[in-house]
Structures are given as structure tokens and as C-alpha cells.
């Protein structure tokens, strides 16, 4: 990585959050646009002098209110943000009906930026259509002196109680080990805030979740699809029932 591309972690975080305030703009695109507006490298000082008219020249056709919000987030300093020290919330099994447990590979509790095999910790959330709780932060670093056969199996086993795993990247063999433990790995094509992914998941949970997710939520799959299938599928469903008892 050369100095041209180096952002401080706080700055990268702010750009990620600022992109969320904009329609159809991810962090990568915003980064490109900002570089076009104020030049590389992006620094706190340059962003502090960024104004609305300049931002408008690169973000065309976006509401002024969205733009000012973006600008506000970009200019915030870390001290004002209060995002780096997440607070765990108590959770007892059964507290949240129809919920799923997810793990996010993150270095900062804000962005899903971790590679499965190397990220320092996983943030574990319990998510239902209407509620979210951060229930654990699990250290993924192999304890000193512990000798395991396969680091990735050790990591996957840390997440055994989770239904879905969000990561920025994961290798093929590791993904197979994750799937084997019944965890559904979701690799993101770009680095996204945890909050965005949770919102998307909540929409899926509230709408028509795919059968495997409905099963994870404890919803009776067969009854949910009573309306919209043909006889052929009906027969298959009966078979499913017989097969699973």
C-alpha cells in the first residue's frame, strides 16, 4: 500500500458512515468522489475545509439535506462520535422470538472489514425484525500456547451458535468449514457498516425470509408457503416433512 491510498482508520470509518447517508453510494465510490474533489491523499485538514458547494460538484443530483448530513459526518472528529466502545446488552435464550444470531468480522465494531482467518474479533448480534442486541464480542486470536490442528476450524467453532456470518473476505476451504458448522457465510463485495447489513437483514426477516433463514428463526417453513406453490412443490414439502420427521 502506498501513502496515496493510506487513510487513518477514523477517516475511513467516517467515509463509510457518510456514504450511508447517501443514496446509491458506497464507501468506495464516495472515496473516489472525495479524492476527485479535494485531491489525494485525503486528510482531516482537507476535509475540515470541504464545503457544501465543493461537495456538490462531485455529488450531483443529491438533496441538499443528504449532502449536509454527509458533510457533517465527514467533519466529525472521533471524540464526538462515540462509536468505538460498544456496550453489550444482556440476552437470555428466548428473549427475542423469531430472531437469528449473526457474527460480524470487524476491527472497530462499526464496519464489516475483517477477513475470516485474521480478524481480531467477532461481534455477535441477536437480530429480529424489530430489535437488535449486541450480545458478545468474541476474541478470535488463538490463545498463546494453544495448539490447534486448524486455525479456521477453531475460529468457526467460536461462532457455532450463530446462523449467519458477515465477513469482508474468506477463503474457499474456510468457507466450507463454516458451512459445515451450519453457519451461513455472507461475504460482502465492499466494506459495509454493520448497521447497514443488520437493517437489510431485518427487512428480509420482516418480509419473506428464504426457507433456510426461516428455519434458523424457528418459523415453521411449511405453513409459511401455503399459498404460492404448485402441487408438485406440495408433494416435495410432504416429503421434506417425512424426511425430517
Amino acid at each position: 500500500m502506498n501513502s496515496q491510498n493510506t487513510l487513518t482508520r477514523e477517516l475511513a470509518l467516517r467515509i463509510g458512515l457518510a456514504a450511508r447517508a447517501l443514496p446509491d453510494t458506497d464507501a468506495k465510490r464516495l472515496l473516489t468522489l472525495l479524492t476527485a474533489a479535494i485531491g489525494s491523499p485525503l486528510t482531516d485538514a482537507k476535509l475540515a475545509s470541504l464545503d457544501l458547494p465543493t461537495l456538490k460538484t462531485v455529488l450531483i443530483g443529491i438533496d441538499d439535506s443528504d449532502l449536509s448530513r454527509t458533510l457533517y459526518i465527514l467533519k466529525q472528529t472521533t471524540e464526538e462520535m462515540d462509536v468505538n466502545d460498544p456496550v453489550l446488552q444482556a440476552y437470555v435464550e428466548g428473549d427475542m422470538p423469531n430472531s437469528v444470531r449473526i457474527a460480524c468480522a470487524s476491527s472497530d465494531a462499526v464496519l464489516v472489514d475483517g477477513h475470516f482467518g485474521t480478524c481480531p474479533q467477532f461481534y455477535i448480534y441477536q437480530v429480529s425484525a424489530t430489535a437488535v442486541r449486541l450480545i458478545a464480542v468474541r476474541n478470535a486470536v488463538l490463545p498463546e500456547g494453544l495448539d490447534v490442528e486448524d486455525k479456521n476450524v477453531y475460529r468457526a467453532e467460536l461462532l457455532q451458535d450463530c446462523n449467519v456470518l458477515y465477513i469482508a473476505s474468506v477463503g474457499g476451504p474456510a468457507a466450507a468449514k463454516i458451512v459445515r458448522l451450519g453457519i451461513h457465510p455472507m461475504k460482502q463485495s465492499s466494506i459495509q457498516p454493520i448497521a447497514t447489513l443488520i437493517e437489510q437483514l431485518q427487512q428480509v426477516i420482516a418480509g419473506t425470509p428464504p426457507p433456510w433463514l426461516a428455519k434458523a428463526m424457528g418459523v415453521n417453513v411449511v405453513h409459511r408457503f401455503h399459498f404460492d406453490h404448485t402441487d408438485d412443490v406440495d408433494n416435495e414439502l410432504e416429503r421434506d416433512l417425512e424426511a425430517t420427521g
Partner: protein, 67 residues
Amino acid sequence: MTLYIVEADCISCGDCLPVCPTDSITEGSIVFKIDKKTCTECEGDFDVPQCVKVCPIDNCILPLEAA
């Protein structure tokens, strides 16, 4: 003789679609499905059913016994 996909377990990854020698797998409205009229369980083409071989989920594709 035919295989079927357990709807509650299929994650719609689509890995099975290209490996079927008889093109019996299609993407259904909910998950992928196998046409029981054309599935041969790969007999004559392969030693093991190819969809079962590539499916990442255990026990997701099973034989459908004759009714």
C-alpha cells in the same frame, strides 16, 4: 428414481445447477428444485450424483423413494 432438494435447507447457492448431466435442476420460486421426471441420480453418467457431490449443505439433496 430421483433426488429432491430439501426446501428448508437449500441456500439457493446454485452450485448444483451446472453440474447436472440431465439439466434436471431449475431455480424455483422458493429454492432450487429437481425435475423428478428427468433426474437419473446420474446413473450412466457418473458414479455419484453430481449435485450431492457439490452441494455445500449436508443432507440437503436426498433420494425421493417411490411413493
